[in-house]
């Protein structure tokens, strides 16, 4: 069964550095999402992406964040200048149709020192 994959599984970075989190959605899916979960808190929506455009974003998704689908398979989340409070588990999800089930990747744990 196809799955969403994410790399790396764990990323450690220094405050102020740029990070790129990578996701490979399921191949025939067209809608892509990023969520994050700070330790001990809720899973929070960051952004949704369709047809090479952001369709919705949360207040968390400020100018420090960007998303891109650089080729036909990858979907990336970039944080330009990481802060300590960006430390969290980041989940990618995809779906073929927005009304369908969202399928989640295993997550990338980002640690900002």
């Amino acid at each position: 069964e196809p799955e969403v994959t994410q790399t790396p599984s764990h990323q450690v970075t220094q405050m102020g550095q740029e990070v790129i989190l990578r996701c490979v959605p399921i191949s025939n899916h067209l809608y892509f999402y990023w969520y994050r979960q700070i330790l001990g808190q809720k899973v929070e929506f960051l952004v949704s992406f369709y047809n090479n455009e952001i369709s919705e974003k949360s207040e968390i998704f400020d100018d420090q964040f960007s998303v891109e689908r650089p080729d036909g398979s990858n979907f990336t989340l970039k944080i330009r200048s990481t802060k300590l409070e960006d430390s969290a588990m980041y989940f990618c999800a995809s779906t073929r149709d927005p009304l369908d089930t969202q399928y989640f990747g295993p997550g990338t744990r980002l640690t900002v020192l």
Binding site: Q41, S48, E56
Partner: protein, 109 residues
């Protein structure tokens, strides 16, 4: 604002006992409700959604619009049901999932 509340952080039951994981929501429109499960060291996966009215792994959930609840139930818990359970909703014109804080279910032998 839309909100999903799961009042229990931890629910511990013995194998064979009934389980009810509580979920309440606040949204004035017509939400779609979901239960996601995360087993140890695995990814979030959909357990069930109210629109499909399915019973998955013996779990059921009924949407009660009057009480704005979507509690997850299972008559006889199994040890393999031990996991983190998240209630979530999507609302009209938006497909983002709004999650509750999760309930850890521990089924003891």
């Amino acid at each position: 604002a839309q909100r999903v509340t799961q009042p229990e952080k931890l629910l511990s039951v013995f194998k064979g006992a009934p389980v009810e994981l509580k979920c309440n929501y606040s949204y004035s429109g017509s939400p779609e409700l979901f239960w996601y499960v995360q087993y140890s060291r695995q990814r979030l996966q959909l357990l069930l959604r109210h629109i499909s009215r399915e019973s998955i792994k013996g779990f059921t959930a009924d949407l009660n619009k009057g009480e704005t609840s979507f509690h997850l139930k299972k008559p006889f818990a199994q040890e393999e049901d031990s996991a983190m359970y998240y209630c979530a909703l999507t609302r009209d014109s938006s497909y983002k999932l709004i999650f509750g804080s999760g309930t850890r279910l521990l089924v003891r032998p």
